[in-house]
Structures are given as structure tokens and as C-alpha cells.
């Protein structure tokens, strides 16, 4: 056999990306074989090489686009001029929304870094640093303005990002908590963690919810 009826390069490539993100997130990059991926797409393994020259190229493409998407989402969501607390709230909301929406590619981008070549790892880490610097700047501004109580900007930024990203480990849509409930709780935890002085909009985010256990 050869070219199949109705075959379309763009559609196949999109299907490959989608299946790859899902498979790598579930099985891990090393554990996923190209034949497995091809089967998921409904194509022979050789066909994958028309779109991605190597398996690692595929991984790198998925990761780069994830990171670029994250930065773009923040650039679209960031307040132009605002006080640090409002900016921090926007950062938290954007971060959680993006990561819940793109759970699988987040998993891939966070877990499979060690499968990249040195050069490509550097590129991804550069994008990650770009994104994280935004949070550090907010924390620094808030600390300097005296509206945050932050001991160590860098450490606090890392702690917050780990905390927020961790949401994808246990959160499942449609279970006990809605996205907005989770976001609200993380927002109030964040504001307390950075010692935000309660003034106006900031405190309104901490809409209460009852104590309860979280599903694993």
C-alpha cells in the first residue's frame, strides 16, 4: 500500500502531536515507542518521520510549543499597569488555568527534560526562566512597595510555582472542586504566603469553603 484516500499532511501532523502528548504524559517519553504512537494515530511508524525527523525532535517541539504557549498566555493576561497584588493575582489565575487546561503537555514539559539534548534543554530552560522572572519581578515590586512580606524573592517564586503547578497532580475536572474554587483557594493561600497586606480586591479572592479531604 501507499498513500491512503483522504490522507492530509496537516491533519496527520496534528493527530501525531495530540497523540504524542497524551501517550508521553501517560507512559513517559522513553516508554512510548514510535510504533505505539503510530498505531494511536492509525498510521505506520514510518509515516511519522515525514513530520518529525527523530523522536527527540517530536518531544522538543511539544515542549517548546508548550512553553511558548504559557508565555503567550501570560502576555495576553497580564495587567498593563496595576499594583503588585493585582498582578500577582493575575499571575496565579493564569498559571492555574493554563496548567489545568494543558495538564498533559505540562506533565511532558516538566517530566521529560532529561530526554533532551544539552542544547535543547538549554532552550527550554531559557523559556522557563523567562516565565519565572515575571513572578520574581512581581514579588520584588511588592516587597519594595511594602505591600508584600517576602524574605527571599527567588525562593518564594520557586515555592509558589511548585505549589501551583502541583495542582495537576491531584486535580481532576468534575470532581469535588471546580476550577474556580481551586483557583480561589490557591489565590488566598498565595496572598497569605507572600504576606499581602489586605486592601480592597485582594481579600475578596478568599471566598470561603468548608474543610474537607482532597481526593487522590
Amino acid at each position: 500500500m501507499a498513500r491512503t484516500t483522504g490522507s492530509d499532511g496537516e491533519k496527520t501532523e496534528a493527530a501525531v502531536r495530540e497523540a504524542a502528548v497524551s501517550l508521553i504524559a501517560r507512559l513517559g517519553y522513553e516508554a512510548m515507542s514510535m510504533r505505539q504512537l503510530a498505531a494511536e494515530v492509525g498510521v505506520q511508524a514510518a509515516a511519522l518521520y515525514r513530520y518529525f525527523p527523530t523522536k527527540e525532535d517530536l518531544l522538543f517541539t511539544l515542549m517548546r510549543e508548550h512553553m511558548e504557549g504559557l508565555i503567550e498566555a501570560w502576555n495576553a493576561a497580564r495587567p498593563v499597569v496595576a499594583d503588585p497584588a493585582t498582578r500577582l493575582a493575575a499571575y496565579v489565575e493564569n498559571h492555574i488555568a493554563f496548567h489545568i487546561e494543558r495538564r498533559h503537555s505540562t506533565h511532558v514539559s516538566n517530566m521529560e527534560l532529561r530526554s533532551l539534548s544539552h542544547d535543547r534543554l538549554t532552550q527550554i530552560l531559557k523559556l522557563r526562566t523567562t516565565y519565572e522572572k515575571e513572578l520574581r519581578a512581581i514579588l520584588r515590586d511588592g516587597a519594595e512597595a511594602g505591600v508584600f512580606d517576602v524574605e527571599d524573592t527567588g525562593l518564594t517564586a520557586m515555592a509558589l510555582i511548585q505549589m501551583m503547578t502541583g495542582v495537576i497532580v491531584w486535580f481532576r475536572p468534575g470532581e469535588r472542586l471546580s476550577i474556580s474554587e481551586v483557583t480561589a483557594t490557591y489565590l488566598s493561600m498565595t496572598m497569605r504566603l507572600v504576606g499581602a497586606k489586605a486592601h480592597g480586591a485582594t481579600t475578596s479572592y478568599s471566598a470561603g469553603r468548608a474543610n474537607d479531604a482532597v481526593a487522590l
Copy 2:
């Protein structure tokens, strides 16, 4: 060739465990080959099968012992009777100390869960839940006693654990911050996050440090 002079089963097994933790943490379980591990130990691949019947048995053993060690460490460190804030402080200190000390095995236990069979995954998750329940109990007690301000016990516990465990991602001993400085900062962030009412020993943990960027 056959048995080598000075060969000792106990020593070889210990060397295998040590090398395996290090290699799996660096390369990932799937990416590490048994031949690579054997070479690191200075032995042929076949010799490994005297100690671990399969590669997955090796992984499971490393993970189980890590989790059991974590629970044992907490049982040894936990205050018998104490107020929630003191218990929480002990939990945070034990968690960070243990995870910094056992970075590699923490990495393995957190990242390679998907390589376990269903049964073994269940066993590891059970140990994990046992450990996490301790934190939830502390938070619940604190909330009920009115010394913590926690919206959602389960969610807060997950957030705290993610935040604290994340320390192994960026912390390197001997760099900018000492272990005790990191612990102190995380402790004060934790206390603020749970809204601990400042009384006595609790606040003394937040010894100040200057703002600065954290090295990646």
C-alpha cells in the same frame, strides 16, 4: 571467568542499590539499562539478577524503602504531645531535611511511579497516603482549635507538600543558601500560608533574610 576475589554479596547489593538510585534519578528508569547499571557497579549485567529478579523489582524496592524511611523519620521526629503549630513546624522541618538528604531517591519515588505494575503502584501510594494523612491531621486539628486559618484541609496539605518537596528541584547544598536558611524560610512561608496565629515559638522561626534571586 567466574567468582572474583574479594566478592561479597552484601557489598555488591548495596552498591547496586546506590548506583541504581543515582542512575535512575539522572537518566530515568526506562532510559537506564541493566548493562549500564552493571558497569557502574563494576560487574556484568547477569550478576544483578542474583539480587533483584527483575528490573522492576529493583525499582520497587528502592521506592518502598524510600517511603518507609520517610515514614520512619517522621515517627522518630514527631512531637508526642504538642500544639498544632509546633507539630506543623516539626513536619516541615522533617520533610525538608529528609528530602534534601535523599534528593535522588525522592526523585525516583516521585517520577517513576508509572513504571510500576498496578499492584505495586497501589502499595507505594498507600505509603504515601499514610504519610500525607499526618499533615492533614495536623491541619485539621489546627483549624478546629482555631489556631490555623485553613479553607480546605486536603487541598492545603497537597499545596504544602508540593511546595516543600519542590525544594529538591532547585536546592543544591553549598550554594547561596544553607539547609537551615532554606528550612527557616519554608517554615515561615508555611505558617503564613496556613494563617497560623503568631504566638510564642511559632513566629521565632521566621528569622529574616534579605531578598535575592535564587539560582537555578
